[in-house]
């Protein structure tokens, strides 16, 4: 499969041309944000002083970076700087607003985002990307070229700080939510749910199986809803 090489800042045209399942790499400046970034941005209206028109790609990643003896940034955990994305679904309540407020064109995390983010992405023109392979891992990656800025390092530590990083050919990343209202993982899940009906039958679990009385949230016959 072709891998599209994209440059940051991403344009609306860049992201509207992408479909779920497409593979991309990114070159340019990205910024990171985890729990503290989202809570402060939405609940306290405090944002790191970044030019979001030029840096419109947010990565949900706690960074293992520390300050070296001479004040320079150095890897804390491996022999080089590496990005490990964290689960983005926990930032779902903040994401739709942030996409519009900051003008984000791509959000990168592990796993995926929810329905509200998908709607905001289709409206504004933004995509969600997730890991595929040869990412910036301890073993393989050399995408991070340098640390450009760090915000909140002294106050919140490396995992909650917002890092601005220069990356080159970061990826391949896979488009799992496109700007047309599609979610790759929902399609995979729908197929799995269809298949699951056959698996219930294989194990002799009745279609109308319900757990015993007295258990919470079992109305649909499972314990789970998203």
């Amino acid at each position: 499969m072709d891998i599209k090489k994209l440059k940051i800042p991403l344009t609306e045209g860049d992201v509207r041309s992408l479909n779920i399942g497409d593979l991309v790499t990114l070159t340019g400046l990205i910024f990171t944000g985890t729990d503290v970034f989202h809570k402060r941005a939405i609940e306290e209206n405090i944002l790191p002083p970044i030019d979001y028109t030029k840096q419109n790609v947010l990565v949900h990643a706690p960074m293992s970076i520390r300050r070296g003896k001479n004040g320079e940034w150095e890897p804390m955990q491996w022999q080089k700087l590496s990005i490990l994305v964290t689960a983005g679904s926990r930032f779902e309540p903040y994401m739709p607003h942030l996409i519009r407020q900051l003008g984000l064109r791509a959000v990168i995390s592990k796993s995926s985002m929810g329905e509200d983010t998908k709607k905001a992405m289709a409206e504004f023109g933004c995509v969600h990307l997730t890991e595929n392979s040869k990412l910036d891992r301890p073993g393989t990656g050399d995408a991070v070229k340098r640390v450009v800025d760090a915000y909140g390092f002294d106050e919140f530590g490396p995992f909650e700080a917002t890092w601005v990083l220069e990356v080159e050919d970061y990826g391949p990343l896979i488009v799992d939510i496109d700007a047309h209202g599609n979610n790759l993982f929902d399609e995979i899940e729908q197929a799995a749910k269809e298949r699951m009906k056959k698996i219930y039958a294989h194990f002799g679990i009745p279609e109308d199986f319900r757990y015993s009385a007295g258990l919470p949230d079992s109305k649909d016959g499972t314990y789970y809803s998203r």
Binding site: M76, Q77, K134, P138, I188, I199, F209, G221
Partner: protein, 307 residues
Amino acid sequence: MTELRIEKDTLDEMMYQVTVRAACIIPRDVRRAIEEAERLEETEVAKGPLRSWLDDFKAGERGNSICPDTGYQIYWVKLGESIKIEGGMSSLYDAARQAVARATEKGYLRPHLLHPITRKNPGTNLGYYTPTLHIQFDPAIGYIEIISVCKGGGGEGPGSYQRNLYEGDGKSGVIKFVLDSFLHSSYSGKSCPPGIVGVGIGGTAETSTRLALEAAALRPVGHRHPDPDIADLEEDLLVQLNTLGIGPMGLGGKTSVLDVHIEYALSHFALLSVAYNTFCAVVRRATVRLEPSGRIEYSDVANWDYR
């Protein structure tokens, strides 16, 4: 049995080495299973995560933690009655704490364990009940064995559940709980599939939860429960879950789980406790054993069977 005396320094070093090995060296059974999955998958997208893990395993041999998320450190210690540790048995707790602190300082473990309410991070991965130790005395053995596990956040957070069902929910209730847990946890690769699914059945909530964890973390891929009914159920669930098409990191494919391991304890006649635990694809366990001869041996096989 002849008394085996262990000096504190020896114990500390064993505990530290086994902690580092758990973080950096992939067990052979898991590596084989990931290699096999990489051959089986047909698309580049499905092969992608498997290949990057195989690269990470090589980086692990060069002293990098094989997954950046080094998770929680959990130890299982098994020892004979003839073992005498310098400073007494409580030295085991000290040894575990110094091992975690040292491995964190050296960069083998990510310093990410923090106060659950204030979110204050001590930076050492040490605190109340942390790390966790399970100790088992076995009068039949003359050695001490320490198993170290790094339990990553992916398999633990979105991949671990426990419920006390009622006896009327029966086998169907248990199997449905396992199937639904898998589908829920593997959506969008949250639990980092394909991993090892551990299931604990029976006992109290605490027992089933611990059995599920031990089934996922300690039993090698391909090993079956000695009870043939349970072994058959393990095989059956393994085959069926792999028809779901979830694939590596939930991106679609043929490999959704590496194995299914079930452990059970007796159940209260009215109740039916069941727990589900995922070990993410990057299973991390290492073992060290000190033999009565004084020989120290490191391996990736955990010998924790006490049914």
